[in-house]
Amino acid sequence: MSRFLTPATVQEALEALAQPGAKVLAGGTDLMIFLRQARMNGAELPELLVDVTRLPELKRLELDGPGCYLGAGLTFRFLDESPEARRHIPVLAQAASMVGSMQVRQTGTIGGNVANGSPAADGMSALVALDAVAEIASLEGVRHCPLSELITAPNQTTLTPGELILGYAITPPPEPEGQVFLKVGRRHEVAVSRLNLAACLDRDLADPRVVLGSCFPSPRRLADVEALIKNGKPGPALWQAAGEQAAGHFTDVCGWRSSATYKVPAITRITARALKRAWAQLEDRS
């Protein structure tokens, strides 16, 4: 049997998490499934569940000033529906709108999405495209860690017991910019990503961002694809070349596995399509 604690402050939460066998409940959409399986298998349950969903500090949303910040407790439903998020970080708002069902979006948070470390996490790809750096607290203090370093392998992170993600400092690309998130799943809604792609473009192609998700053990920006875009001339030929480069990046890292027959053309097209849409969005905005 687990004990349950709903701390009122971050300090209280960190003190609770410092106890042995404590586990963060950041929404529950993954954790409750894990607990269900543990109970069915007669496995050990966490000693203490620490519900951080009511901490106001984790709901911060700052998108207007110089330092943009997203609290780890923001839910996908909030980000999907927030006019501010849709305007300033459409790549994340779009990703949020495609997570699970309305019920899952209501409780699932960007903190839990990252801490769970699924390679198919939609929120992760968008956050990586926004150059998110996680702010992680424990009783020892605060550390900052880029998401690409936080996730080390599927469902594995550098988070240690006692640590809590408070939020993410993000750096959106310079305006005017276009941001697009696309995903391929087995059905249109309530689907786990087979592939997802987050793309951001700015007017001068000075800081293009391309993140391919659900393909690699840990999230990453495709530096070779971004370099190609930087040195290119915007247009269909460049988007297509970028798509082919992205597919090449995938086979370089993962080899030609059985799913590649499907994934290679899918990556090529989803990348080209996302870049085309991001550029069209940018032209609409400027």
């Binding site: 049997m1 203490l48 969903t53 069902s101 019920q103």
Partner: protein, 160 residues
Amino acid sequence: MPLKFTLNGKEVCLEDVPGEATLLEVLRRKLGMLGAKEGCGVGECGACTVLLDGKAVDSCLTAAWQAAGREVTTVEGLAQGETLHPMQQGFADTGAVQCGFCTPGMILTALDLVEQAPKPSDQEIRRAMSGNLCRCTGYHDVVRAVRRGAKYMRGEGEEQ
């Protein structure tokens, strides 16, 4: 410490609720509210949907303690005596119910949608209802049911 929340307008107080207990278990086993069903147990089917402070959640993915101090609405709390809630009436009038297993979850999800969009488009209905699976009637009648329930809720009476 006892777990306290409001269930369909009435305060409930429960002793000895373990931290890992789901809201669904507590509703069904301790409070006798059998409207919410366990279908998949992993947040895919929506049969366990209830409203938590008016918002649809999968009660199988919600820890019972997350409801502490909040308002939980189940399908049992909708009708006024013998008079069905307008959304329930919409489902009845369009024949969107066959075995009925998914219906409580469908109705509660629809209420969350209509709260936000009193006159939802078919596309909005389809998107909102996508986390609620039905394995007998199919979805055309469900879309009609939500459209009609929303209309009743706006006080506009029978659909032509």
